[in-house]
C-alpha cells in the first residue's frame, strides 16, 4: 500500500518449507478466482467463457505478477462468521453515526491521527486489517508503515483522549478477529502472548 520497496515477509516462518508447491498453489487459486470473475462478468458459464477466462487469467498472472503473500494458516469458517457478523454490525452502527453527525446542525466534529502498531506484521494481516478498518466509517487509513506493521489512522468525532484508546483497541480487535480467521498457529500464539482479551465495545 505504501510506496516502499518489497521487503521480505518478517514472520511468515513456513514459506521456506512450503516453497515451490505453495507458490504454485497460490497461482492456481488466483487463476481460479480470475476465471470465476470472467464468467460472472459475462453473465453465464459455458465452455467458451471457461476457456476465455483461463486464457485471460493466465495472461494477467504472467504479465502482472504480484509479490507472493504468505498464507500460512487455513480458513476457519466459524471465525470467519464471527468476523463477518461483527464487521457488519460495526459497519451499520458506524455508518449511522457518521450520517447522524453529518446532518446534525451546527456540529463540527473533531478528529485525531493515531498510530496503531499491529501485533503480527505480515503483509496479509496488514492488508486485510487495513481494509477492514478503513471500510468501517469513522476511521481512515492515512499511512501504512510496512516494516514495523503500523497503521496511521484518522479517527473522526473524538471527544476525549479515551476515545483514542477505544479506537486503538477496536483496531486491534479487528486484527485479532482476522488472525483468528486466516492466521497460522504461530501468529495466533504471538497474539495471545502480546495482549489479553479485552472488551471492544465503544
Amino acid at each position: 500500500m505504501t510506496g516502499s520497496p518489497p521487503t521480505a515477509v518478517t514472520s511468515g516462518g513456513s514459506e521456506a518449507s512450503r516453497g515451490r508447491f505453495g507458490r504454485w498453489r497460490d497461482q492456481a487459486v488466483a487463476l481460479g478466482w480470475l476465471v470465476v470473475v470472467w464468467n460472472l462478468l459475462w453473465g453465464d458459464i459455458n465452455w467458451a467463457n471457461l476457456v476465455g477466462g483461463l486464457l485471460v487469467g493466465g495472461a494477467v498472472l504472467v504479465f502482472f505478477p504480484l509479490p507472493a503473500v504468505s498464507f500460512g494458516g487455513r480458513l476457519r469458517p466459524w471465525a470467519l462468521l464471527v468476523f463477518a457478523s461483527r464487521f457488519a454490525a460495526e459497519l451499520v452502527s458506524a455508518s449511522l453515526h457518521i450520517a447522524r453527525i453529518a446532518v446534525q446542525p451546527g456540529y463540527r466534529p473533531r478528529g485525531a491521527i493515531i498510530a496503531v502498531r499491529l501485533r503480527v506484521s505480515t503483509d496479509l494481516n496488514l492488508a486485510l486489517t487495513a481494509e477492514a478498518v478503513s471500510l468501517v466509517p469513522g476511521t481512515l487509513i492515512l499511512e501504512v508503515d510496512r516494516d514495523s506493521g503500523t497503521l496511521y489512522l484518522h479517527v473522526l468525532d473524538t471527544h476525549a483522549p479515551t476515545d483514542l484508546d477505544v479506537a486503538r483497541e477496536r483496531t486491534l480487535a479487528v486484527e485479532r478477529r482476522i488472525l483468528r480467521t486466516v492466521g497460522s498457529t504461530a501468529e495466533l500464539r504471538q497474539l495471545d502472548v502480546s495482549a489479553p482479551e479485552k472488551g471492544t465495545r465503544p
Binding site: G43, A99, R100, L135
Partner: protein, 118 residues
C-alpha cells in the same frame, strides 16, 4: 407472496441506501476539512452502495444479475479503502488539514520519536 415480500424488502433497501448516500453528500458539503470529508465521502457510501445492491438483487432475482451484483459488491469493498487511503494520504502530505481540529497527531511524531503505538 414471496416475490411481493422480496419486492418490498428491495424497495426498503433502495430507500435506505439512497438516504445514506444523501447523508454522505451532506457530510462532504458540511465537514470542516479534507480528512473529515473523506470519512463522509467513502464510508456511508460503502453501506449505502451495499444496500442499493441488495435492493437491486432482491428485485431482479436472476442468477446472471446476482453474479454481476456480487462482483460489484466485492470490487466496491476492495477498492474503496484504497481510494480513501490515497486521497487521505495526499491530503495529509500536502497539508490540507485543519490542525485546530486534531486532538492528536501521531503521524507527525513518526520522524523523530518513532512508533509510539501501544
Amino acid at each position: 407472496m414471496i416475490a411481493t415480500i422480496a419486492d418490498w424488502l428491495g424497495a426498503g433497501c433502495l430507500v435506505a441506501g439512497a438516504l445514506l448516500g444523501l447523508a454522505a453528500a451532506i457530510g462532504v458539503l458540511r465537514f470542516p476539512d479534507a480528512l473529515s470529508r473523506m470519512h463522509a465521502a467513502t464510508k456511508p457510501q460503502v453501506l449505502g452502495v451495499l444496500l442499493l445492491l441488495l435492493g437491486i438483487a432482491l428485485r431482479l432475482r436472476s442468477p446472471a444479475d446476482l453474479g454481476m451484483i456480487a462482483l460489484v459488491a466485492v470490487f466496491q469493498l476492495a477498492t474503496a479503502p484504497v481510494a480513501a487511503q490515497m486521497i487521505g494520504r495526499a491530503a495529509y502530505r500536502s497539508g490540507r488539514l485543519d490542525r485546530s481540529l486534531l486532538d492528536a497527531d501521531e503521524l507527525a511524531e513518526r520522524g523523530s520519536g518513532g512508533g509510539s503505538a501501544g
